[in-house]
């Protein structure tokens, strides 16, 4: 239905070149009304979901099918992306873990002690830090630092014809440009989340200690470990890898999957970050449902 409508609208546009269906929907002249506005937003949402879904499946297919192809070229690129989306961000994550510990956890511990609810400390920390705040904060920071760079790099490469150059040389652009970024980001976000959680929990206790909270480090960490189950570890791993995979898909899709002109790159970067945030929230909601069901 969407493609039929796009074809109809396309016929009315003066410049028919270089427009994808999504671009047609963005530019199509429509009478001003709320229904038109909502209809356009709905069509755009459906087209974007269709595009992202197809792109994710293509990428997964290439990861599986070409795992042994050109390893000497792809493996160094994956290492490079892990450094970029993981190792290089460690100093920033150390700082954020300290801040999170001081600002949130330390105060929570202190408040729980004051109201005599210290026995809830472990479960509170697990729900707040391990399940929610840690992964979400990690993915937002990586999206801001690395995701935007992906869109700009790939968008510029696309606009300058580098993707066509890869195809000419018999190099699969998805294999060369996307697969390393997806794997790098998934592993980067997974590792950084673990470091962030550990750092925040340690610095949180340190802040509580400074407030003379009557609790030994042994009691503090014992409560937390007793509240953790195998499901927390499994779902944390799944969630962070899903975050990394889909953030990389969203940013790479916007940079690479559609024809771009140089002047469009900055606008597309903003759109990719917005959609990245929405995708993170949707994945998070899905995992909350999973937690509630188990």
């Amino acid at each position: 239905m969407t493609s039929c409508y796009a074809a109809a609208v396309r016929g009315n546009l003066a410049k028919t070149f270089e427009l994808t269906n999504t671009q047609v929907f963005r530019r199509a002249p429509l009478p001003r009304s709320y229904t038109d506005f909502l209809g356009r937003k709905l069509f755009l949402f459906l087209l974007t979901m269709q595009g992202l879904g197809a792109f994710a499946l293509i990428t997964l297919g290439v990861i599986l099918r070409k795992s042994g192809v050109a390893e000497n070229v792809i493996r160094p690129r994956i290492r490079q992306e892990i450094v970029r989306a993981g190792v290089a961000l460690l100093p920033m994550f150390f700082f954020v873990a300290l801040a999170l510990g001081f600002l949130v956890i330390g105060q929570t511990v202190s408040a729980l002690v004051k109201v005599g609810a210290i026995s809830y400390l472990g479960s509170t920390m697990v729900i707040v830090v391990v399940r929610e705040l840690g992964p979400l904060l990690a993915v937002m920071l990586v999206l801001a630092r690395v995701g935007t760079a992906h869109v700009i790099e790939l968008g510029t490469a696309r606009a300058l014809g580098e993707v066509e150059a890869l195809e000419v040389l018999g190099i699969d652009p998805v294999h060369y440009l996307i697969v390393p970024r997806v794997i790098g980001m998934a592993l980067g976000i997974f590792s950084l989340t673990i470091y962030l959680i550990i750092g925040a929990l340690v610095s949180g206790y340190f802040f509580a200690f400074l407030q003379d909270v009557p609790m030994t480090p042994g009691d503090y960490f014992k409560q937390i470990t007793e509240s953790l189950s195998w499901l927390d570890f499994a779902l944390l791993a799944l969630k962070t890898i899903a975050f990394g995979f889909f953030i990389a898909i969203v940013t790479c899709y916007h940079g690479l999957a559609q024809p771009l002109r140089l002047e469009e790159v900055s606008r597309v970067a903003v759109r990719a970050v917005t959609q990245g945030v929405i995708v993170c929230v949707l994945i998070d909601a899905l995992f909350i449902v999973l937690y509630l069901l188990t």
Partner: protein, 261 residues
Amino acid sequence: MSENQNIPAIEMRGVNVAAMRDASFTVVEDVNWSVASGEFWVIAGQEHSGKSDLLMLAAGLMSPADGSCKLFGNDTKNFSEAELAERLRAGFVFQGGQLFNQLTIAENVALPLRYQKNLAEADVVRPVESLLELLELKPLADVTPANVAANWRQRAALARALILKPEILLLDNPLAGLGARHLQWWLRFLDQLSHGHEQFGGQPMTVVVTADDLRHWRNDRRKFALLRDKRFTPLGLWNEVEAVNDPVVNELLAVQIEATI
């Protein structure tokens, strides 16, 4: 002569060429063209006449909207990943080079070889160095394309296409914007390739170039064709080009420019 040598390097029959950016728009119609191995063709045409699209199609990078296009006897419509080796018998040089900006010139040249043969960086040092030396690019080996003049970027793109030792070389307007010294170098080097360069096994390479200025291509060995009004017209050798009384050909020869600006 063996049977393989009789197969045309490129053969088009009744081909309609679609625009690369919009497959529903036909830029050239009913192309009937045959390029024998070792020939040197110059496809002339004005801006937006479909030269680049025709060249991309000849390289097997696009399928014809209609008709059949064969590369060494293999229909390009059937090209999939399994036939990649067949497609890579044709090398392609974009106008402007389209080098990878994140890589140095040497890395740009090495990439296709490393990817196709799964080689480590150290394994390609020798072939890359010798090619860079041949194309006088060695001093620029560790420089990224953004810091290299356009003349040299175009030459680096040629090196990148040659590293896989193609049998056909397709070049999109290779002389556009070149200085006099580079222009002479390109004409001489393409002729050497066409005659058979010792670094590429001494076999004559089939060369197809597009051009929007025919003056530099004057040579009795080269064959010429014209793209005009969606039509592909083989003109023949240089003396036949000069004999054509056509305003577009005259314009491409800069005999009489009547362009309205």
